[in-house]
Amino acid sequence: MQNWISAFGGRQRLLQLAALAVLLLVVLPLTLDIFRLNLIGKYLTYAFVAVGLVLCWGYGGVLSLGQGIFFGLGGYCMAMFLKLEASSPENTAIQSTPGIPDFMDWNQITELPALWMPFHSLTLTILLILTVPALFAFVIGVAMFKRRVGGVYFAIITQAIASIATILIIGQQGFTGGINGITDLRTLMGWDIRPDSAKYILYFLCCVLLILCLLIGQFVLSSRYGKLLIAMRDQEDRVRFSGYDVANIKIFVFALAGIFSAIGGAMFALQVGFMSPSFVGTVVSIEMVIFCAVGGRLSLIGAVYGALLVNLAKTLLSESFPQLWIIFMGALFIGVVLLFPRGLAGLYDDFVQPHIDRFLASRRKSAPVKREQPIEPVQRSKPQEVTS
């Protein structure tokens, strides 16, 4: 039992995770109506990306400004499946070619493209949601990390890839739905995803998947691999000259973050009911990084709170002060970076956790709680990180 606890991040982390689970699975559903809960569900899909970024940026030191690509891959895979189901010959009888998605019909496509074929099957779709981003991350990772492209360069190149992806999706509208995206998604295996009851179920599914991802994340970080990530950020050469293939370590964490993002994207398509290229591009990708930074780039659970709070603030502020919320967001990013580089999690560690520790210690004097050491977010990366 003790082994299991430490394998998944130790007692303190697991308790924090349990608290999050209670909040998401019990407190919020009981206090919010379905409209707000559905919003929270949408924000949680961003949290998947933020959690992946904690692993790959916070711990692995690999900042990707293209996480939207993976979110989009997951989202589009799911949306394609749902769209095919919504485009049954009966539903699309008025089209010149019934049985294909409406936007294809408008683009004179008379036959379902081969690219869409796999998405007739849910099993295959789920498989693709998990493997396509992993494969894509692997390819990018091999190309970049094996050649020691890192830091700033990696960030800019991933950003460029995200921008290419957006132009491609918008340009190939016959296959992708173009700028409108894939809209009007209705059922999953005959089950209507639009009524409130379905939204509840999807919300809970989303929470459960997120908690699973968090558990996987904590397992990874508690393993020797997690220590390696920290080691690599501190002294990449030392890791390399201890016999590790540094590139492989980075590729794995990048791929893992990609898979998490894709799961988020798929849940997004399910809960929001559409997918569009604006979730693939550069702007949304940077926003995801911000969620992660606000939550605390070294805290998996913090990233979830970060995604929730920033989006909540965005929604509430844009309702009351439409002009101000962008300025507020901008100020938030600057403030977090300048004043709280460890984000919400850092504030929590500094101000809240000591009280909890003291409280617990006074309750059970026999078992003093061991503080986990906060890790400073030092980035030793120099401007020119590429080794020639």
Partner: protein, 414 residues
Amino acid sequence: MHDSTRKTPAWKRHLLAVALGTGLGFAGAAGAADHPTEKVSTTGLAVNDDTVKVGILHSITGTMAISETGSVEAEKLAIEQINAMGGVLGRKIEVIQEDGASDWPTFAEKSRKLLTQDKVAAVFGCWTSASRKAVLPVFEKENGLLYYPTFYEGLEQSKNVIYTGQEATQQNLAGLDWIAKEKDAKTYYLVGSDYIWPRTSNKIARKHIENVLGGEVIGEEYYPLGNTNFGSLINKIRLKKPDVVYASIVGGSNVAWWKQLKAAGITPERQTIVTISVTEDEVLGIGGENIAGYYSSMKYFQSLENDNNQAFVKAFKARWGEDSVIGDVTQAAYLGPWLWKAAVEKAGSFDVDAVAAASADIELETAPEGYVKVHENHHLWSKLRMGQWKADGQAEVVYESELIEPNPFPEGYQ
């Protein structure tokens, strides 16, 4: 805010606008007493004895704020005028405004909020096709009513949407007919920003050119949104010398396109260009001197000389400042509240089903663009006008078609 630079104090502008609005001569409203709330609202909409709530949903922030500002202003003006006349079924209209932030899920989210939380009786909003596509399932599921102002690609029809702008056949066909005749045009070059509306419009244009006009399309190409370099395209046009360039370039690209055309020594005398994406709003950014002499194919221009329009322009300027310009979409947005008012009064109810059903055949004699009528497919019968731009940023209407029936699913053009 954007109107802070203008001179007249807000209250004064407001009063003036209201006074002008009443002067427009719309039919007066009956008192609320004749229409008890429990009768006019049976589905739990936000209606009481004194007020009825409606939503305005446009982007105030983000990249689309450029385009959507005019629509917000027009919708607010119409609502203020209606209120000054006594409201709808004796109830004052209260506006709940939400910001779509140029982000489609935000549009979906806000529309759901307007419909399920605020229970608004109607929503005036959306601008891009993508935002409309994002909110459409919400409106259909929550049974809301959306008045959508933009000219768009068609291929859509919904019980829950009234399209006050033109669909693609209305905007393209008559204009092409005219230019083909006027300029004796045989060859056409189609260019556009790379997204759904230019592509669909050009598809319809191409079919019409090839199958009806017997002309030839000698080039068709698309540039990414935000592209600002058109040197190569201009050279291609120069080389192929089409009789007509048919352009649907939008946003920041639009400005670059016209400026670079002018700089490349291309003049309206040497090259006829018809655009379907430039209204008075865009000309503000392009600069009248850069586009003077070229044509826009639209249903409305600010310079229309009928009485309705003159009153409207006057009221709009009084309310939003003398510098305001009014484009096609702004006018279409202005129609929304009036069409809704007429349909509610015809139905005698705010219930969405009743209003939607009553909408067909609603007529508006007083529209700035002239007479309009709602088709049973929820689009408007409207005219197509060809405007030739002048250096002062206004257009001279050089052609006006008959009323055109809206046809969102055109046979033979798909």
